[in-house]
């Protein structure tokens, strides 16, 4: 899959808008000020994912997953290293310091944080596509990142939009990774739509 630099720029802008909206929402509902780094976006081939060493092998990660279907289908997944994810939740909820453990209550909160991010990103994409997309209910997992292999192998993805961003909350720094795994044809559809927007914008100017 060859993606032009212009398309990648537009995709990066889309992700930036989505992540930015999510950060602004999070700041409204939490007691801490959250800053996010400019997301790094790249499109990777499913077969490359294991060689990227995104998180240390065997590290347990907290993952929020949302499937979407329709003309544009696939799976979005937000991943945090589990230990720092618990600290992130404790900081944004203003909890008293204690053991950073992801119990069921904190996991639900993390699911909400993940949900906000995924929705921000999917909202941005939805605005470009202007087509109805159906969504599953968000799911939460704690597992090694290896689980992604399962999704990739079972969903015949033709491309993964990989977005990494860092959360800075007070004195903690947590890296979140958003995987947007697109089913066969979906990446092409998205790129076509992006090009249409590009064309309209260019002819307009």
């Amino acid at each position: 899959m060859i993606v032009s630099p212009e398309d990648l720029d537009f995709l990066m802008e889309l992700m930036n808008i989505g992540v930015g909206k999510a950060a602004s929402l999070l700041n409204e509902i939490t007691s801490s000020h959250i800053r996010l780094s400019v997301p790094q976006v790249r499109i990777v081939n499913p077969s490359e994912i294991n060689s990227l060493n995104l998180v240390p092998e065997n590290e347990i990660c907290a993952q929020v997953k949302l499937d979407f279907s329709g003309p544009f289908s696939g799976t979005s997944l937000l991943v945090f290293p589990a230990g720092s994810a618990a600290t992130l939740v404790m900081t944004i909820t203003g909890e008293e310091p204690g053991a950073p453990e992801l119990d069921s209550i904190r996991a639900e909160t993390l699911k909400e944080v993940g949900n906000i991010f995924i929705n921000g990103v999917m909202g941005s994409i939805g605005n470009v596509l202007r087509q109805h997309i159906s969504y599953s209910l968000p799911e939460y997992y704690e597992d090694r990142l290896e689980i992604i292999k399962y999704f990739i192998e079972n969903e015949k993805s033709d491309g993964i939009i990989l977005t990494t961003t860092n959360f800075y909350v007070e004195n903690i720094d947590v890296r979140g990774i958003i995987f947007l795994m697109l089913d066969m044809g979906s990446l092409n559809l998205l790129l076509e739509k992006i090009e249409q927007v590009d064309t309209i914008e260019s002819s307009g100017s």
């Binding site: 929402l25 509902i29 053991a99 209550i105 904190r106 639900e108 929705n119």
Partner: protein, 377 residues
Amino acid sequence: MIKNLTETGEDLSLFDFLPVGICIIDPDYNVLFWNRCLENWSGLKTGEMTGSDLRVKCEKLKSSHFIKRFGLIFSGGPPDGFSSQLHKYLIPSELHNGKMRIQHTTVIALQTEVPGKYNAMIICEDVTNLTNEVQAYRSMRDRALMELDERVKTENALRIVNTKLNLMNSITRHDILNQLTVAIIFRDMIEQDNVIPPEKKAYGYLNKMEIALNNIQQHISFTKDYQDMGIKSPNWYDIAGIVDKISRSSSFSELEVKNGLRGYEIYADPLFEKVIYTLFDNAVRHGKKVTRIEFSAVEEDTSISIVCEDNGIGIPVNDKEKIFERGFGEHTGLGLFLSRDILSITGISIKENGKPGVGARFEISVSKDMCRHSEPV
């Protein structure tokens, strides 16, 4: 799927039987459906709520972040979740004890018959009990961690105090032994110079002085052995290896030793070797005619007995417990007393149950979690 709710509202009656609060609103926040569970929780009747603006009863929905997130739902966006930690009481509902019901809420978009128009279904789960249990668990865990931390600090402080006491003991023992040596030398010089003839009463005092000085020496040696006990952490020891090592020493070279403990390891104080040495030493010293010592293991349901038998004169019935008391016997009277203490550090017991005249039989009883096979037996 659910469409045109105002006309087919009766189809939603199934939701009245669910143990979760369910409410459906249109993009103007007007309530289209309010299930029985929400009626019970909030005290607000379905008739009263239907058609009303939900924001009047749930003021939180007026805040900008709810408007943005619900806006995405009304445009057909992905489901959204509102966690109990960040939004405890989305739909106000009081419990019988006067406290508020803690909720976890999920909101999903429902497509209507009008293309591009979506309603929102709000699903509230009561997580009050779960939250209370998690909080109780957290506070218990934090308390346990705090106590553990305190214990570690106390242990470290005790270790330092113990080190200082041991140092002081060693120095004091060294100084006493020096002075004792001087006293023994002077006593010997008095005897060698024949200043006191053997028939004099004072000569007897010299002998008593010698006994007293030797006793002091033994007591001092005992304090060293006792001080070493429990200083180092217990560990796993190969029992057969220890028996072999001791049996090779010159003091016991004439004994026939049968070692049936191959493969057994014991979790004991590092002074465990001294216990086995004491058994050898006692056999030779008190058994009179001992030519053979046999070590074996007897496995029981929950424990293993390490048995040491000899072919000496045995222990008289009346002395079977006394031999473990401090000061008993013809020698120092410390060996078996110390052995029992050394073993007790890891919960191991020792007793003598041989037949007088046939031989001594010491039985060391170890629970199975303190004794294991290092190789197949």
